[in-house]
Amino acid sequence: MSRVAGAVGTVRIRFFARYAELAGRSEGTLSVPLPATVSDVIQRIRDEWPGTSALPAQPLAALNLRHVRLDAPVADGDELAFLPPLAGG
């Protein structure tokens, strides 16, 4: 690789409900150069996992069990989940 060596994080990715159907998978693990935001990870998922292009470009996201904005930073070991429009209650 020509990339300058830097920190790389491993992020656990999860898809739920309709997004799992669209992505054709409910979870996976992804290596991402750090620092990275949720948006960066979304871009990387689209590049690396065929089928995920059907997901919306700006989905609702949760990092380590909390809702986050797409500009939130992602760290090594994080669990990042993509959530279809919520329908609880």
Binding site: R14, F16, A17, R18, E21, A62, L65, R66, H67, A81, L83, P84, P85, L86, A87, G88, G89
Partner: protein
């Protein structure tokens, strides 16, 4: 699981959980699966969740409620799996010394549940079709499968 349940919800159990001698007012809310004239023959809803996050989120909602209404006793359950029409998908009970707080706190819990809980529902219809429910108004047909 503390807040999530695949078994039918018991409002009596929640009321017993929040009952306390100093709490004279209890407000409860039940959300039930509708099958109204506009609901196209929904026979059941299949609820699924991001379980760990839904538990964490409900715990946060309960904590926030107790912070805003320090005397409130709060209980909430959300059902998962197949829920038949007219069965409850969510049940909330809040007991407080005075009734205005019980209403306000109970309302707070259900509004936050609707806004924040990572739960999804697929409507199952008598004709065999299934639809993911998007409360923002864009249903997406996914069946018959």
């Amino acid at each position: 699981m503390t807040y999530l349940s695949t078994a039918p919800l018991s409002i009596e159990a929640l009321l017993a959980e929040v009952a306390a001698p100093h709490c004279g007012g209890t407000c409860a809310f039940l959300g039930t699966v509708r099958d109204g004239p506009d609901d196209g023959g929904v026979t059941a809803i299949e609820y699924s969740a991001y379980d760990a996050m839904a538990e964490a989120e409900l715990d946060r909602i309960v904590s926030e409620t107790r912070r805003q209404w320090p005397e409130a006793r709060v209980a909430v359950r959300h059902r998962l799996g197949l829920v038949a029409a007219e069965e409850a998908s969510v049940a909330i009970a809040v007991a407080t010394p005075h009734r205005a707080d019980a209403f306000a706190a109970c309302r707070y819990v259900i509004e936050q549940v609707k806004k924040r809980l990572p739960v999804w529902k697929k409507e199952l219809r008598a004709d065999g079709t299934a639809t993911w429910v998007d409360p923002s108004g864009h249903p997406s047909m996914v069946g018959p499968q």
